[in-house]
């Protein structure tokens, strides 16, 4: 078994050498390559000095992505409270790297973030409904908050009565959760709608978070 794995690893190296360019230029190919590596217990990102990094230079690639992700998260934090939609993050990342010919996928973002996580930077990916959100401030989001974020994805905002009704919560529970999200800077109130009902907007689930990104 050990021997078999060793053979497989050397074949993987051979493969990596041969397809070096594809791995670097093609995000889908890169993602598949990562999967193959995981299967044989090789982490090409584990060290920047190892054979893999030398072979592919992908350690540098993810390191650079990581730095850019941190920059974007910091720049958009005043607006979104430190929680950003992965898709949005990826778009901003592509804008930032538009001079670079290498394409970046969401999978690449996630890998770069997991590398950041190792450094103890407090970056984390959470799932709310269908969306993945990247958190760059160490707020502890409880299940209730997560459910509200999920609900807000439909329109970008929720109203108190909607939270009560859709999640079958008491008024108190809904208000508590919404107040916490406000305090954390993850929500903003909107009293301007003609129906007179206060709306709670969540910049992290709308694409508006590019506000301030270039300032």
């Amino acid at each position: 078994m050990k021997e078999q794995l060793a053979t497989f690893r050397s074949q993987l190296e051979e493969f990596a050498r041969k397809h070096r360019n594809d791995i670097r230029k093609n995000p889908a190919f890169r993602s598949q390559f990562h999967e193959m590596c995981a299967k044989v217990g090789v982490d090409p990102l584990a060290s920047n000095k190892g054979l893999w990094a030398e072979l592919l230079g992908i350690g540098d690639f993810y390191y650079e992505l990581g730095v850019q992700i941190v920059e974007i998260c910091l720049a958009t934090r005043p607006h979104n409270g430190g929680l950003i939609n992965l898709q949005e993050l990826c778009n901003l990342l592509r804008q930032k790297r538009k001079h670079d010919r290498e394409a970046v996928s969401e999978d690449d973002c996630l890998r770069a973030i997991s590398k950041l996580k190792v450094m103890g930077s407090g970056f984390e990916v959470i799932t709310a409904g269908k969306k993945k959100l990247v958190r760059s401030v160490p707020t502890e989001l409880k299940k209730d908050h997560n459910e509200i974020l999920e609900l807000a994805q439909a329109q970008g905002f929720v109203a108190v009565d909607e939270v009560e009704r859709r999640l079958s919560w008491t008024l108190g529970r809904a208000i508590d959760a919404l107040d916490t999200l406000l305090d954390e800077g993850l929500a903003m109130i909107d009293d301007g709608h003609e129906d007179g009902k206060r709306r709670y907007w969540f910049p992290c689930v709308s694409s508006i978070s590019s506000v301030g990104a270039d300032s």
Partner: protein, 179 residues
């Protein structure tokens, strides 16, 4: 991107909660900052010198998202500009405000440069000439609000760079430069 004439509006202008004063301090600070920048930039590009809080002003409402700023919000944003030295109330009731996208001392500097460029170092001009004469055409001084111009001139007078004297009628005060 939404536009007002040739002015490109920032994205936050289309996000409804920015039209409601935010209760949480940090969120509000960011909100106030964005509005301050927008008001100054808009006034600078459109050459607007005075804003009336109770009057129609294109930035105070966004029909596209059906939101407009409450009086309280307008006053909060403009007051923040006042504390930055970028605006001054014209009345005690805080209804009209002078917007200083250049501070008074910057306007004074612009006047000095204008005088030097035109070789007017020891000439006499009327206040009206400075803001609408041939020499100022194409410069930032052209069309400058009279109140701001007078404030800048008084600052320069205080520094001994010029003397203001009364003309025959109230609206043709003269200026004798001595730069």
């Amino acid at each position: 991107m939404q536009k007002l004439g040739d002015f490109k509006l920032p994205q936050f202008f289309n996000y409804p909660p920015y039209f409601t004063l935010q209760p949480v301090r940090e969120t509000r600070e960011k909100q106030v900052q964005l509005w301050k920048e927008l008001i100054l930039e808009y006034c600078r590009t459109q050459k607007i010198f005075v804003i009336g809080l109770e009057e129609e002003f294109p930035l105070f409402s966004n029909p596209e998202i059906e939101r407009s700023l409450s009086h309280e919000a307008r006053e909060a944003f403009v007051s923040a500009l006042v504390s930055d030295g970028r605006a001054e109330w014209l009345d005690k009731g805080h209804r009209k405000c002078l917007i200083l996208w250049h501070r008074i001392q910057d306007w004074a500097e612009i006047i000095i440069n204008f005088v030097k460029e035109n070789g007017l170092e020891d000439s006499v001009m009327t206040v009206e000439e400075i803001r609408s004469g041939i020499e100022s055409r194409g410069t930032e001084l052209h069309g400058l609000d009279r109140i701001i111009l007078m404030r800048a001139l008084k600052l320069l007078e205080h520094k001994g760079k010029l003397a203001i004297f009364k003309g025959t009628t109230a609206d043709d005060e003269g200026v004798k430069f001595s730069i």
